[in-house]
Symmetry: C2
Subunit: 231 residues, 2 copies
């Protein structure tokens, strides 16, 4: 199978299987929430769109702006807040992640959500489909993100040698770090958490744990402007 990586959502990329990564922290949180038992996650880019989803009933509101919980929301964007289930539905506002998911949905037959937490499960799912793979890094405000690209490289490394230039570069980038933790701490997203203090900094080692969740979140459709994701 051919494997390609789009380092930013603006890049053209298409394949039957799309993999979306926003590892610090949206896709780590989505994996954790679904593994904990939420039935579905609805991802909206805008705060007001997420807030409006609470009208559906049985909805927990989660998300962040500038690293902090949004006013009036139940929870922030730390995966450690999603270890137990509060309601059937989690509605999240996540700008970069939602954009990458919607971009992938337009260009792929199926879209799966990846983090390090479910690394092995995502690789197995991609192999089972057997089709070409395009990995979409959410990035930060349209720019290249080291943390997402690291995870992309880890996936590429397990999916064979038929790689685009970007996939080869991602694999080499990932191999240049001795641990995920080191890559995440060096990334802009990681440094933002560190600058917010020890409570948010603790999310970095949490997100850097590998293959601890046997879950493959999949995009099941759009609910208005929100992407619906289920395990």
């Amino acid at each position: 199978m051919h494997v390609h990586v789009a380092f930013t959502p603006d890049e053209l990329a298409a394949a039957p299987t799309g993999v979306v990564i926003d590892v610090i922290r949206a896709t780590s949180t989505i994996c954790q929430a679904l593994a904990a038992g939420y039935e579905r996650v609805l991802c909206a880019a805008e705060v007001e769109d997420a807030r409006a989803l609470s009208g559906l009933g049985g909805v927990t509101l989660g998300g962040e702006r500038l690293g902090l919980r949004i006013e009036g929301f139940d929870l922030g964007n730390s995966p450690r807040e999603y270890l137990s289930v509060r309601t059937p539905t989690l509605a999240m506002s996540t700008t970069n992640g939602t954009r990458a998911i919607v971009t992938a949905a337009e260009r792929c037959e199926r879209v799966v959500i990846a983090s390090l937490l479910n690394l092995a499960a995502v690789i197995e799912a991609a192999r089972d489909h057997g089709d070409d793979v395009a990995i979409f890094c959410a990035g930060v405000k349209g720019s290249f993100a080291l943390d997402d690209s690291y995870v992309a490289g880890r996936i590429v490394a397990e999916l064979g040698d038929d790689r685009s230039d970007a996939a080869e570069a991602a694999a080499r980038l990932a191999a240049s770090y001795p641990t995920a933790l080191e890559a995440f701490r060096a990334s802009r997203s990681g440094r933002n958490l560190i600058n917010h203090g020890s409570e948010l900094e603790a999310d970095i080692p949490y997100c850097a744990r590998e293959s601890v969740l046997d879950v493959v979140p999949r995009l099941t459709g759009m609910q208005g402007v929100a992407a619906e994701i289920r395990a």
Copy 2:
């Protein structure tokens, strides 16, 4: 100084000093032509725009489509065709390179043209300016290109540790290859030349020579839709 790399022309990037790379082969050819004594190079994206420039008089027409010399043009896009001067002006049609140069011009106070051939000269020029640097990789049809990103990483490695995520990734990518030749041969642009046969393949080691030209091509303005570059 802060250093950033835009792996594709669509990425947002801005800095006082812009550096443009389309190493296989447009910017290598521009460096070679100016070092040989051409007074200026006019880069146009479209073939017809380059052809129209021949009306200026004293113009050599150069460029390629799919690796081959354009019909009616004097020369192709091999830097080895530009070892001696034919006319004061070289008008080139180069799609990816022109796009990257024009993008950089919109976002930077000054734009310099880089290849491996003039690596040391470009690094020295960036240091002399002392301002923040944005490196623009031309890529291939809007996608990430391994060869351009390799050269970007080589420049980043010499410009200090204040790096964006993308700059850090480029430096690590470059460091993962023992030689430029290996990186260029592995790239899509390099493989395209290899697939065209030994005559074009010979451009790869030619472009992989480091710091052999003491020239810093600079964007001096636009001539209609063409970017004017002088040493």
